[in-house]
């Protein structure tokens, strides 16, 4: 996947854009040294992961220095370089639940501080509120006096105990963060409410897709039947239980309707049972886990894309599907209504009946041939979301953040206590003080002066440019002697 991305990246790096870049440099746009922190990164797959990857590449292209910090995935630990010298630190931290690391608020400080110092980071950009590492990094960065930015990729409820707790933590984590980025207006509204934020410091920058990856190919579909494609992780959040209600109902009504389900998860068993009970083995195909590069090949085989998510901040899957020229049927939840214009999407309520109606409407449109051709849909969607645009807007946020002051310790404590409620505020103020003392201790143990400055691979003064490395060396295994 990375390879393909890189391929297209090189391809999109047209002369015009590089001229732009140079011009920008010549006119002296500010460059920052940015550290992206999240628990979620490749080889894990998902929206956050590709968001970080693409955004980093576009920022590097704009002349910033970007590094990524995440936790170790199995054997992939240590320091790796991706294309264009994008450096990734896979830190050996224990994974607790759902690829998220365990947090004690302190144990990651020595390593993160070492990295921030050796890479001369100026802005710490954390991603995803599910990632405890991202929150840890925000906390440490504030202690160290670095500017902080946070991107929220998901929506939460307010009702149950777990979301009340998470929201409280989010309040603490974001109360002195310089700037927050959300992926849709719904998400912004949600985040502002959850974390009790000033809406002024929350920006909306949507996700993007690489339109060149998702091109339509009508020859791949079988026009004698109608195929509904579902590509998502098979988990509760994605509404797989709704899907299991829809499949038998529609299959009875339309004998030429086929379902193609890509993805893996604990709810797969539900679909398998439905398939067995109604004898639909020839009409419902479960493809299992998909590699990212296979997603397009699955998408182009269908006519309709069905999304049954129960909550979604910004649904990238429907943009990808629309980019492949499919008619999209989706639930009207979260930020989904903002993503695509009315004529490209059929929105339904998250119930079996409503979704069935929506699908029937889409089928009727296909039967009658009133739909625009895949090419027209693709050309329209292509213009909506691009990573270059995302990077440009993010860079503006960075510029703004860089001018702001980081709260000094006393103000930070004041803010924590005044902003997060008396009990939580006091506890976390205490944590902040402890963390500061720990930092002082670390600075005494290994002063900043004896930390080697990392050789910069990217950015304007990067060592890793083509002239030094005429040919690519084979990839080699990294090893950590003792860790």
């Amino acid at each position: 996947m990375a390879c393909r991305r890189i391929g297209c990246h090189g391809h999109t790096l047209s002369p015009a854009s590089s001229i732009n870049c140079v011009k920008a440099l010549a006119t002296g746009i500010r460059t920052h040294s940015i550290c992206m922190v999240s628990d979620f990164f490749y080889p894990n797959m998902g929206g956050v992961e590709s968001h970080i990857y693409q955004l980093s590449h576009c920022l590097i292209e704009r002349g910033h220095k970007v590094i990524i910090v995440t936790h170790a995935y199995g054997n992939r630990k240590g320091i790796r370089y991706l294309a264009n010298g994008l450096k990734v630190y896979y830190l050996p931290l224990k994974v607790m639940y759902n690829q998220s690391t365990a947090t004690t608020l302190f144990h990651s400080l020595p390593l993160l501080r070492y990295i921030f110092v050796r890479e001369r980071v100026t802005i710490v950009h954390s991603h995803s509120s599910f990632s405890s590492m991202a929150h840890d990094a925000l906390f440490h960065a504030k202690t160290m006096g670095l500017q902080t930015v946070f991107t929220d990729h998901s929506l939460f409820g307010f009702a149950d105990v777990s979301s009340v707790l998470t929201n409280k933590l989010l309040t603490v984590s974001l109360c002195d963060t310089n700037h927050i980025i959300c992926v849709s207006y719904t998400s912004k509204e949600n985040t502002v409410l959850r974390a009790a934020l000033n809406p002024e410091i929350v920006s909306v920058i949507p996700n993007a897709v690489d339109p060149t990856d998702f091109t339509p190919d009508p020859s791949r579909r079988d026009d004698s039947t109608i195929t509904v494609v579902v590509v998502s992780r098979l988990v509760y959040r994605k509404g797989i239980d709704l899907l299991s209600g829809i499949i038998p109902e529609l299959c009875q009504k339309y004998p030429d309707l086929h379902f193609l389900v890509g993805g893996e998860g604990p709810k797969r068993i539900v679909l398998e049972e439905v398939r067995e009970r109604y004898q639909l083995h020839d009409r419902v195909r479960l493809l299992g886990a998909l590699e990212h590069q296979d997603v397009r090949n699955v998408l182009v085989q269908g006519h309709i894309f069905l999304n049954t998510s129960l909550t979604e901040a910004f649904c990238m899957a429907i943009v990808e599907a629309a980019s492949c020229g499919l008619q999209v049927v989706s639930t009207r939840v979260g930020g989904i209504p903002e993503v695509l214009p009315e004529n490209l999407i059929v929105l339904c309520e998250p119930s079996v009946k409503s979704l069935c109606d929506g699908l029937e409407k889409a089928v009727a449109q296909i039967r009658s041939g009133t739909l625009p051709t895949p090419e027209t849909i693709h050309n329209k969607v292509k213009t909506f979301y691009t990573w270059r645009n995302v990077a440009e807007r993010t860079a503006k946020v960075y510029d703004r953040v860089a001018d702001e002051v980081v709260l000094p310790m006393d103000k930070r404590l004041d803010r924590l206590i005044s902003h997060c409620g008396s009990v939580t505020g006091c506890i976390f103020a205490l944590f902040a003080v402890l963390s500061f003392l720990f930092l002082v201790f670390l600075r005494w143990m290994t002063p900043d002066s004896i930390i080697d400055v990392a050789v910069d691979a990217t950015g304007p003064s990067g060592a890793w440019t083509q002239q030094y490395f005429p040919s690519k060396k084979g990839s080699e295994k990294e090893e950590i002697p003792d860790c």
Binding site: I79, L91, L111, T446, A454, K477, E478
Partner: protein, 182 residues
């Protein structure tokens, strides 16, 4: 013979000695940070104090003699198996690369890698304990495929010099390795 003083990753002083025997034969020797009298006496004192405490509690003089014994044995084991005095790297252009680590007691541990197995010598980054450090390593040629690397052998593992020292060694090594290729 040239000598330079550098710093280790931990902040201690290390000395890099460079001997040039001939055009294709060089030796680099890194002297590790010396054993601190402070830490040695602190360790000894703590063991003896603990022993004395036990002695006061139990009134058994065996404890004291055992403490002396433990300290002595511990010191010997430390000097013989743990404390590395200096590490050297001998690069002989046509033969190979030899790594030697000498313990404080004089014990030597030597590994010789033939030139045909050496693919390259590079500087790499690694996460070590709570630090991110640069280290010099030898890449071994994978016999199966010409571009593959079968193993990475880290150098100067106990002294862990900082980047400036590694760059010195790296440049010298590359000079010799380049002769091999032509």
């Amino acid at each position: 013979m040239e000598e330079g003083v550098y710093r280790a990753v931990s902040g201690g002083r290390i000395a890099l000695q460079r001997r040039q025997y001939s055009a294709s034969c060089r030796e680099f020797s890194v002297r590790c940070p010396r054993l601190q009298l402070r830490s040695l006496s602190a360790a000894t004192c703590s063991v003896w104090l603990a022993a004395y405490g036990l002695f006061v509690l139990s009134q058994n003089s065996m404890v004291l003699s055992a403490a002396i014994f433990i300290t002595l044995i511990g010191l010997i084991v430390y000097l013989h198996f743990v404390k590395i005095d200096h590490e050297s790297l001998l690069v002989i252009g046509s033969l190979g690369i030899q790594m030697t680590s000498s313990y404080a007691s004089g014990k030597e541990n030597t590994t010789f890698i033939e030139m045909s197995q050496v693919k390259d010598v590079v500087i790499n980054e690694a996460i070590y304990m709570q630090k991110v450090i640069y280290y010099l390593c030898i890449l071994l040629q994978d016999p199966g495929e010409p571009h593959g690397v079968s193993e990475v052998v880290p150098l100067f593992q106990s002294s862990k010099p900082r980047l400036d020292c590694l760059v010195e060694v790296y440049r010298s090594c590359q000079e010799i390795l380049e002769q091999r290729k032509t």
